[in-house]
C-alpha cells in the first residue's frame, strides 16, 4: 500500500501511515477549517489497510496537543475503525502520547479512550 505522509502545518498534524513498517503516526495539532476534508483520506487509507490486517499487528501512535471539535469527531471515527478492526481480529495497539506537564491533554486522552476495548495506552512524555 502506498505510504501516506502529510507534512505538519500550523493547523494540521504530521501524518505518517507506513504500511511497510506497520506503524501509523499522527502528531501535532488539528484544527483545520474543514476537518472532514483533511481526515477523509486518512479514513479511506485506514479502511483499506485494516481490511487486510486480520491476524496481524498494527501499531498506532497519536500525539495531539490540540484538536478542534470537528477534528475530535474525526479522530473518534478513526478510533472506531481501530475498534472495528480489533473486533475482526486485527491486533491493534494504540499509544496516545501526552505532555506530562499538561493535565488537560491527559484529560482529553481519557475522554478519547472511553468506550474502546482494544489496547489503548496513555503515555506521558
Amino acid at each position: 500500500m502506498e505510504r501516506l505522509v502529510l507534512k505538519e502545518s500550523k493547523s494540521t498534524p504530521f501524518v505518517d501511515f507506513d504500511a511497510d513498517k506497520e506503524i501509523l503516526l499522527i502528531k501535532g495539532q488539528a484544527y483545520p477549517e474543514d476537518a472532514f476534508l483533511f481526515f477523509r483520506p486518512l479514513l479511506e487509507w485506514l479502511k483499506e489497510y485494516l481490511g487486510g490486517k486480520v491476524g496481524q499487528e498494527v501499531r498506532i501512535e497519536i500525539a495531539l496537543s490540540y484538536t478542534n471539535t470537528s477534528s475530535s469527531k474525526c479522530i473518534m471515527m478513526i478510533l472506531d475503525l481501530f475498534e472495528k478492526a480489533a473486533e475482526q481480529g486485527v491486533n491493534v495497539t494504540l499509544k496516545w502520547i501526552c505532555n506530562e506537564h499538561n493535565e488537560y491533554e491527559q484529560e482529553c486522552a481519557e475522554e478519547f479512550k472511553e468506550d474502546y476495548t482494544f489496547p489503548f495506552e496513555i503515555v506521558l512524555a
Binding site: 502545518s9 500550523k10 493547523s11 477549517e33 474543514d34 476537518a35 472532514f36 490540540y66 484538536t67 478542534n68 471539535t69 470537528s70 475530535s72 469527531k73 474525526c74 473518534m76 471515527m77 488537560y104 484529560e107 482529553c108 475522554e111 478519547f112 472511553e114 468506550d115
Partner: protein, 548 residues
C-alpha cells in the same frame, strides 16, 4: 434533510437516519423488520449521544485550557508595561490589544483609526505614517515592506509622553485572506527620559542654582580657546559672609543666598557668557570676547546689584577677581588661577568693609523685625563709652574698641529669632523661652564667623548673672567676661527705661533702684556701684534715653 459541510463528520449517523426514513416511506414493511430497524436506530442514536457527550467533554477541557492560556497571555501582555496593538489594511485597531495602549493613548482604541491615534503637531510625521502604513499593505514583498517601515520614527510623542515604537508585520490567521497585520509595540520611556535628562543636566549643572558646574566648564575649556573668543576674560567670585548665614540661619537660608547670588551674576553677565558654580561659595564667570573694560564693567555691575539687595539678604556680597588675555599664550586654567589670586587679594582688602556691611545689615534686619531695637544699640554704645571713660580713666584703646563693639552688637543673636517672638506682648511660654535663650549662642557663632573671638566670648556671656543663675552656662562672678558684665548693666538700664513690647518703660530713678536691688545677684556689685555712683554722667541725656 439537507447535508451541510459541517455535518459530514456525522456521515454514518446521517446514513442510518436516511435509511430509516426511506424505509418508513415504503409503507409495506412487516412488523419484525420494523422492530429490527428501530433497534438499529436506537443503537446508533445511543452511540451518537455518547459521541456527542465525549466531544462536548473534550471541547470543554480544551476551551478551558484555551481560556486559561488566553488569560495567562493577556496577563503577560497587560503587565509588560508595553502597548501591543495590531491593525490591518483598513488601519483600524483590532479588538485585542494590551491595556498599556489605553493608558498611552488615554482612551479606548478598539476600531479607532491608527493615524488619528498617532496624530501629532508635526504634519510631516503624520503624512509619513499615512504613506508608509498604506504602502505596507499594498506591497507584496516582505523586504520592501520592512524597508518601508524603516522610514518610520522610532521615538514619538503621544499625549506629551515619549514613546518608543517598534513595527512588525504579522499574520494573524492562516485561513483568512488579507490577514496580514501591522503590529505596533509601544514603550513609554517618559520617566526614563526624565531621569536621563536629569542625570545629564546634573552632570553639567549645579543642582541648587541650575548654573553650569565645574565639570562643564572644564569640559568646554578646549573649545573656548579659539581666536574668535579673544579677548577673553574670567571673573572669579567668592561670596562673603556665607558662613555666617549658614551658622546663624541654617544652610537652607544659606542656599537661598547662593541662589540669590546666582541671579545677580546671571543678570549682570551677557547671554554669551558662561556662569558656573565653581565650588561651595565660589562662582566662575567666563566672558568670551570680553576685554578688560567689559570685564571691569561687569564686576562693577555685580557689586552695584549686590549693594541694592534688600536687607533680608544680610549684606550679601562677593569678592571679585577679574583677569583678561588678548592672546592664547596663557591658557584658561592659568587665567582662572590669576583671577583667583586677584579675588583673594580683593577679599583681604575689602574684609573690614565687608564685616561692617554685614554687621550693619544684621542690625538693620533686627530693627526691621522689632522696632524696640531701633536706636538701642547706639544708646547702649554711648553709655558704654562714657562708662569706659571713667573706669580707670579710660580703657586702653583696643579694650575700648572691643567694649563698644560689644555694646553695638550685644543683641545681634536675636536676628535669628522669629519676629513674632521678639514682638510678643505677653509672658513667654516654656518653649518660647527656650527659643529666645538661644540668642547668646547665636551671637557667639556670628561673632566667630566674622573673625571676632573676644566679642564672641562676651556675647555668649551676656545673660550670665553674677550670682550664677544666668544662662547658658550658669557662670559666676569673675568667670563672666568683664565687658559682658558691664554691658549687662547698661543693657538692663536701657531696656527698663524704654518701652518694650511686653512692658512699658519706667522712670530713670525706678530703673536705677531696680538695678541696685539686683547688685550681687544679677550684676557685678562693684561695677554696678560704679555705674550708680556715676549715673549722672554715664546716663547723660545725650545718651538718647527717652525718660522724663
Amino acid at each position: 434533510m439537507k447535508v451541510r459541510k459541517s455535518v459530514t463528520i456525522f456521515e454514518d449517523e446521517i446514513a442510518v437516519y436516511d435509511e430509516a426514513r426511506e424505509y418508513l416511506k415504503q409503507e409495506s414493511f412487516n412488523k419484525d423488520e420494523l422492530v429490527q430497524k428501530f433497534e438499529e436506530v436506537i443503537n446508533k442514536y445511543c452511540r451518537l449521544i455518547n459521541t456527542t457527550r465525549r466531544l462536548c467533554s473534550i471541547s470543554d477541557v480544551q476551551s478551558k485550557e484555551l481560556k486559561r492560556r488566553e488569560i495567562e497571555i493577556k496577563n503577560l501582555l497587560d503587565n509588560s508595561d508595553q502597548g501591543f496593538l495590531t491593525f490591518g489594511k483598513n488601519l483600524r485597531v483590532d479588538k485585542e490589544h494590551s491595556s498599556e495602549c489605553t493608558r498611552i493613548f488615554n482612551k479606548k482604541i478598539k476600531n479607532k483609526d491608527i493615524l488619528e491615534l498617532l496624530h501629532a503637531e508635526n504634519e510631516a510625521q503624520n503624512q509619513l505614517f499615512a504613506n508608509v502604513f498604506r504602502a505596507v499593505f499594498d506591497l507584496q514583498d516582505r523586504e520592501a515592506q520592512l524597508a518601508c517601515l524603516g522610514d518610520l520614527p522610532n521615538l514619538i510623542k503621544i499625549n506629551e509622553n515619549y514613546i518608543i515604537v517598534k513595527y512588525k508585520i504579522i499574520n494573524t490567521d492562516e485561513f483568512e485572506e488579507n490577514s496580514e497585520r501591522l503590529m505596533l509595540i509601544l514603550t513609554d520611556i517618559t520617566e526614563r527620559k526624565k531621569v536621563e535628562d536629569q542625570i545629564l543636566f546634573l552632570s553639567f549643572h549645579d543642582k541648587l542654582t541650575a548654573l553650569f558646574n565645574r565639570a562643564y566648564v572644564e569640559g568646554v575649556m578646549p573649545q573656548l580657546q579659539t581666536e574668535s573668543n579673544l579677548p577673553f576674560s574670567i571673573i572669579m567670585a567668592d561670596l562673603n559672609a556665607l558662613k555666617l548665614v549658614n551658622d546663624v540661619f541654617g544652610h537652607e537660608y544659606g542656599d537661598k543666598m547662593i541662589v540669590q547670588a546666582a541671579k545677580v551674576f546671571l543678570k549682570c553677565c551677557r547671554k554669551s557668557d558662561i556662569i558656573a558654580r565653581w565650588g561651595g561659595d565660589e562662582f566662575l564667570l567666563v566672558l568670551p570676547g570680553a576685554n578688560q573694560q567689559v570685564c571691569a564693567r561687569i564686576c562693577d555691575n555685580i557689586k552695584a546689584m549686590f549693594d541694592s539687595l534688600p536687607i533680608e539678604q544680610m549684606g550679601l556680597s562677593a569678592a571679585l577677581g577679574g583677569a583678561t588675555i588678548e592672546n592664547w599664550k596663557t591658557d584658561i586654567s592659568e587665567l582662572i588661577s590669576v583671577a583667583d589670586h586677584v579675588m583673594y587679594s580683593n577679599k583681604l582688602k575689602e574684609s573690614k568693609n565687608t564685616r561692617e556691611t554685614v554687621i550693619f545689615s544684621v542690625k538693620k534686619l533686627l530693627e526691621s523685625k522689632c522696632s524696640a531695637y531701633i536706636g538701642q544699640s547706639e544708646r547702649v554704645e554711648a553709655i558704654a563709652y562714657r562708662f569706659a571713660q571713667l573706669w580707670e580713666s579710660g580703657e586702653e584703646q583696643q579694650g575700648m574698641a572691643d567694649l563698644l563693639l560689644l555694646a553695638r552688637l550685644h543683641d545681634i543673636g536675636k536676628v535669628a529669632m522669629p519676629a513674632e517672638l521678639l514682638n510678643n506682648c505677653t509672658a513667654l511660654s516654656e518653649c518660647e523661652l527656650k527659643t529666645i535663650r538661644k540668642y547668646p549662642e547665636i551671637g557667639y557663632r556670628m561673632a566667630q564667623s566674622i573673625g571676632e573671638p573676644v566679642l564672641a566670648q562676651s556675647l555668649l556671656a551676656l545673660q550670665e548673672q553674677w550670682g550664677g543663675n544666668g544662662y547658658p552656662y550658669g557662670l559666676k562672678g569673675d568667670q563672666i567676661p568683664f565687658f559682658a558684665r558691664i554691658i549687662a548693666i547698661i543693657k538692663a538700664y536701657d531696656v527698663m527705661t524704654h518701652d518694650q513690647p511686653y512692658k512699658p518703660k519706667m522712670s530713670r530713678e525706678d530703673a536705677l533702684r531696680e538695678l541696685e536691688r539686683c547688685a550681687g545677684t544679677q550684676f557685678d556689685p562693684n561695677l554696678l556701684r560704679f555705674f550708680l555712683d556715676n549715673a549722672c554722667y554715664v546716663i547723660d541725656s545725650t545718651s538718647g534715653t527717652s525718660d522724663e
